[in-house]
Symmetry: C2
Subunit: 207 residues, 2 copies
DNA sequence: GTCTATACAAGGATAGAC
DNA sequence: GTCTATCCTTGTATAGAC
């Protein structure tokens, strides 16, 4: 038995039933080990959560880094957001499944979520600045901070809305829907070149 | 002891600690009654939740109804949203505290949340149509459905974002912040008259 | 009708045997 | 590294006092 095997099964169960509704005994049973043995690998249920949040955060960091290698275009940005949305969908059980996050997360004891959010905001600020410089978006500084606020909230909670009544909706369908909304918002601030780039993205992702 | 007293105290505790982190024994202790006595009034914890959700939903319905008596202007609309935001803040412990709602809510057994959401969407559709007809907003039909999607997500999850790291933030501050974002979004679709109305609202709510 | 006392099941967590 | 046994908290149900 390895940590990774346990985390894989745990994520499956969390995605299916929600973090709060999966017990350590149940997880152990699904892994064919005893509850006591499970706690040899993860002392507390929250440790399982923290490990998954770390996986998720690392994955997002990689996704963002590979975007930063590319040309700053609206099309590439939308592709980035699709990839991020994909990650969120994969980890929805830990990402949305928590009531409030356990106190331990809020108090940064097991995972410093707050600092992740701060860093992400700074990156989005950067991204929108580059898109402006590249002539894709027509923005003043206030518009940038508005778009950062928008993307922070929208980009975090679309998956919560999507899974509110159905924990496993059709992935491609929901991502398509929310990406469409995002593209529309982006187009409100786009230059002609930016609009063209959005159109290109649309065409490419239909064929 | 009355139902209302219990619900008041329960909401206080839920706002402070989150629904999942308040036990029936704790609630009873705070009310100076025995746990068994509490279950005389509310058989299950979920029944407390359902009662609060009903209070909240009724409050929102009244808030919306009194808006519908007024002139359709952006200023009145923003005032409506401020009132709604106020309600959400008051009930944040039951509104946010459950990202997935308990199974009983999702399955409509104790509270038909899904039908509330559907009705609210229809009302917002109406509201934006009137604002278009009144010359406040410049919209085609696609814009309307975009704005409805926007307001549904934004109007539901701002409070979740606001309470993510701090369960009791300064109410006026956070509402001001999110209302400002909403006004900005609205202004992207506003006519000159609409912009003026937003400005009027801003001036009125500073003095 | 209102309340207390108590019991039980389920789940997180821990100690210690092998 | 794996397991059993045990403890504690919490949701829930019920018997019965007043």
């Amino acid at each position: 038995m390895t940590d990774l095997e346990i985390l894989k099964k745990a994520l499956d169960l969390f995605n299916e039933k929600g973090y709060a509704h999966v017990g350590m005994r149940e997880l152990a049973r699904e892994l064919d080990i005893s509850p006591g043995n499970l706690t040899y690998y993860f002392k507390k249920k929250e440790d399982v959560l923290a490990a998954l949040l770390n996986q998720f955060s690392t994955l997002n960091t990689h996704t963002l880094e590979s975007y930063l290698q590319l040309e700053p275009t609206n099309a590439n940005f939308l592709q980035l957001m699709r990839n991020i949305f994909d990650n969120q969908f994969r980890f929805r059980g830990v990402y949305v499944g928590n009531q409030f996050f356990p106190v331990a997360v809020v108090e940064k004891k097991i995972f410093d979520y707050q600092s992740v959010v701060t860093k992400r905001k700074a990156i989005y600020q950067e991204i929108f600045s580059s898109l402006r410089k590249a002539g894709q978006l027509d923005l003043d500084d206030q518009d940038i901070s508005f778009l950062v606020s928008f993307i922070t909230l929208f980009g975090r909670f679309w998956i919560t809305e999507a899974t509110l009544f159905n924990k496993s909706p059709n992935k491609d369908e929901v991502i398509q829907h929310y990406l469409f909304l995002l593209a529309r918002q982006l187009s409100l601030f786009s230059t002609e070149a930016g609009i063209k780039s959005i159109e290109e993205y649309r065409i490419k992702n239909r064929g």
